[in-house]
């Protein structure tokens, strides 16, 4: 722990002041394992634990009395303590019990709740958000120990197909773990960044990401310093596990045997996975395991395995063709194909992907680490640590957003693959004479029927003046931020009375519940919530003062004397309050400063944009 005593030396090409170098990491919060990576000495790399391991198994064991184990220790206890050792909770993030296809196969005591399922443990009911927060907190601790300082923030990756509820759940888990989320980015996008696709490599790239339980395909374009997701698609219920299942079922059929009960089933799947791995290097192998009625041993050749899993591979190729068609891109325009996920180690995947694109895929970055490394590079940029020549990343929303209309149909408002941030409004009207309220049901998905889409939120707009059916004009506005998170508002336009509602869709965790979880977490850590709130408020105040001062230093000429004095007064109030002990007062002063500098921020933006366009037009000539 003597890292704090060491002097910090910045990289030669970077000047850390006035914004001190900030510790920023990338986190791959995975289904089976999680990683944290950071840029150190100009190189992005995964941070190992004290035993030198970079992979943290995504497993949390509740021991009772507020104690828990996270990672390897928890995983080791899984067989002995199955109810209280939780693994693969990522599959449950933002999901209801009814969404989980094989819930009865999970060894947990599941609790059905309206927004998101939960687990009954010896520590009480735990949501997937809380379990994920334990994993994130362990990674945060690892990063702070390794890098010797408090974390400024993290970029956390999510599967590209994650819907709003799953993204929101991930962000809440980070909040519980005390992590400032700089950005949520899509896993395939992070992988592409890790491949060093930079200004020098303009063109179109495909990322084929076959994980344990999911398949993602993304198409990205690098041009003019902007790395843009053009289209994304995939199959949320197709992964390497399905290859294991296909092989296991085939082996049983060959031997004329059956597997009874989840325990035998598990043993068979483990054997199938081992055989699958062996076939990546050997032309044939033997699938062996012990069932209740005796040992099972089946010879399998690579050709047989490839033939029986061909339909699964074809499904991934179908999704690739669909994305190419969505983007209206001929496949020979793709100049690089990146493979991500352990399942892409299967030779037939490499061959098939190579044949589809007519070029050999890129495989030189470790497929387990590539996502965290890419996230670390983005975190480094967002924290302001990278120099000039930064690349801007533009992501898209993976699934269309819309609302329910008459007859259970979906009216799409924001189409999938729209670049974020984005916003769109659409007008609707009333169905009956004198109708004074409407129910708005926000859904996400590509299907035409509401029942086939994911329900995100329901709310009511009241206070509509009674008019003839069809006369009212209700404008529903969707806004999706750079993390892909949605906010919806509705307003009646014809009346002077402004009926207006704004909601953030949620998966059932109320703000109050989050506050309770935070409180519990602090109590356990022996931390004091009030003290922590004060500390965070002060850090925030410090950042705001610094940001405002540097803005004033750069563009003070945009303000007249009166405006300048008003901002100085707001700054003084922030600094004043920050020297006191009242967290609420600090937060209020920071908010007042934010509100009071908005016009200044707008003028600075106008100036920046004008300068950028002027520069560009000279370049055009």
């Amino acid at each position: 722990m003597n890292a704090m005593a060491l002097l910090q030396i910045s990289e030669p090409d970077q000047t850390p002041d006035p914004h001190q170098r900030r510790i920023a990491v990338g986190i791959d919060l995975g289904t089976t394992h999680s990683l944290v990576a950071a840029v150190r000495n100009g190189v992005a790399e995964c941070l190992p634990d004290e035993a030198g391991r970079v992979l943290l198994p995504s497993a949390v064991r509740y021991l009772g009395e507020g104690r828990r184990e996270v990672g390897h220790a928890a995983l080791a206890a899984q067989a002995d303590d199955p109810h209280d050792t939780l693994v693969s909770v990522k599959r449950c993030m933002g999901r209801r019990l009814a969404d989980i296809a094989d819930a009865e196969r999970l060894p947990y005591r599941l609790v059905d709740r309206p927004g998101m399922l939960a687990f009954m443990t010896r520590e009480g009911v735990k949501t997937p958000v809380e379990v994920s927060a334990e994993i994130l907190a362990a990674l945060r601790q690892r990063a702070e120990d390794t890098l010797g300082g408090e974390l400024f923030g993290a970029v956390i990756t999510v599967p590209a197909y994650f819907d709003d509820a799953q993204r929101q759940a991930t962000k809440d888990a980070a909040r519980l773990a005390g992590i400032n989320v700089l950005r949520l980015i899509n896993e395939p996008t992070a992988a592409a960044l890790a491949y060093g696709i930079d200004r020098g490599s303009e063109g179109l790239y495909a990322v084929y990401d076959l994980g344990g339980g999911t398949f993602d395909i993304s198409l990205l374009r690098m041009a003019g310093g902007v790395f843009e997701v053009v289209a994304t698609g995939g199959d949320a219920a197709l992964g390497g596990d399905d290859f294991d299942t296909a092989l296991a079922d085939w082996a049983l059929a060959q031997a004329g045997r059956t597997a009874r009960g989840p325990h035998e089933r598990r043993a068979l799947l483990v054997a199938a996975r081992a055989a699958k791995h062996a076939l990546s290097d050997a032309p044939s192998t033997r699938l062996e395991c012990t069932l209740a009625d005796g040992p099972l041993a089946v010879e399998v050749s690579r050709a047989q395995f490839e033939a029986l899993t061909r339909p699964l591979l074809e499904r991934t190729l179908g999704a690739v063709r669909q994305v190419l068609a969505d983007a209206r891109v001929p496949r020979d325009q793709v100049q690089g194909v990146v493979l991500v996920g352990g399942s892409t180690r299967m030779p037939q995947v490499r061959v098939a992907v190579g044949e589809l694109f007519g070029r050999a895929p890129l495989t030189d970055v470790d497929p387990d680490e590539v996502v965290a490394v890419g996230a670390a590079l983005q975190a480094h940029q967002l924290a302001g640590n990278a120099g000039d020549g930064e690349i801007l990343l533009l992501d898209v929303i993976p699934l269309s957003l819309g609302i329910e209309t008459m007859g259970g149909l979906v009216e799409r408002i924001i189409e999938r693959n729209s670049t974020i941030p984005t916003a769109k409004a659409q007008d609707f009207t009333t169905y009956q004479d004198g109708q004074t309220a409407i129910a708005i049901h926000v859904v996400q998905g590509e299907r035409d029927l509401v029942d086939d889409c994911r329900s995100l939120a329901r709310f009511e707009l009241r206070g509509i003046p009674p008019l003839a059916a069809g006369a009212a004009r209700i404008r529903v506005s969707f806004e999706v931020d750079a993390d892909g998170l949605l906010q919806v508002s509705a307003r009646e336009l014809t009346s002077g009375t402004e009926a207006r509602v704004t909601v953030k869709p949620s998966y059932g965790l109320e703000d109050g519940e989050i506050a309770r979880m935070l409180q519990e977490g602090f109590a356990r850590a022996g931390d004091d919530m009030a003290a922590r709130a004060l500390r965070e408020a002060r850090v925030d105040a410090g950042r705001m003062v610094l940001a405002t001062r540097s803005a004033l230093a750069a563009d003070a000429d945009l303000l007249d004397a009166g405006e300048r004095a008003a901002i100085e007064a707001l700054l003084a109030r922030v600094q004043d309050s920050a020297s006191g002990d009242d967290a609420d007062a600090i937060v209020a002063a920071v908010e007042a400063l934010a509100a009071g500098t908005e016009a200044f921020a707008a003028r600075r933006m106008n100036r920046g944009i004008r300068a950028a366009l002027a520069g560009r037009r000279i370049e055009d000539i």
């Binding site: 914004h19 924290a383 302001g384 801007l392 533009l394 705001m544 908010e591 934010a594």
Partner: protein, 172 residues
């Protein structure tokens, strides 16, 4: 330069229907490189809010300008001639007649070749209408005529999609 400027001013492009799409894309990149929230992470909430507004505005304008029909509708509206797609469906008789012929042809098309022939005819009609639209907007500056062409064109594109779906269905 501010948020209330029209799309063409925002992108510093001439207010015409004929548009260099590569230039449009390049301008969007330039604008977003300046305005995206990622560029203002450490600059406080006021800057973040402004960045969000600008990015949304830039993306919306880009989507509108990139699509030839939306671009045409926008030019009509800038010129004070609302297109009113939702409640103005008056069409010339000849156009309606052709629509009916097409629909009959689609209903009767029994094989891929027949659907293909219809698709080619519709595509040609669409191209011709787009050229007419561009001429009416850029050369003749006859906005009411352009709005009428645009309304007809919307029917043609919808029908083109129907033919496409039929072709996909036959292809499988």
């Amino acid at each position: 330069m501010n948020l209330a400027d029209d799309d063409y001013t925002l992108f510093a492009l001439p207010r015409r229907h004929a548009l260099d799409l590569d230039m449009l894309d390049a301008r969007r990149r330039t604008l977003l490189t300046q305005a995206h929230p990622d560029r203002h992470v450490a600059q406080g909430t006021a800057a973040q809010r402004v960045a969000m507004q600008w990015s949304v505005r830039i993306n919306a304008a880009w989507r509108r300008l990139r699509d030839p029909l939306q671009r045409a509708a926008y030019l009509c509206e800038l010129g004070g001639v609302p297109v009113r797609l939702e409640d103005n469906t008056a069409m010339p008789a000849a156009f309606l007649q052709q629509q009916m012929q097409w629909r009959e042809a689609l209903a009767e098309a029994g094989d891929a070749a027949a659907v293909e022939a219809l698709a080619a005819e519709v595509a040609a009609a669409e191209r011709a209408a787009l050229q007419r639209l561009q001429r009416q907007l850029d050369d003749e500056q006859d906005l009411p005529a352009a709005a009428a062409t645009l309304r007809a064109l919307m029917f043609v594109t919808r029908f083109r999609d129907e033919v496409g779906r039929r072709r996909d269905a036959l292809g499988q």
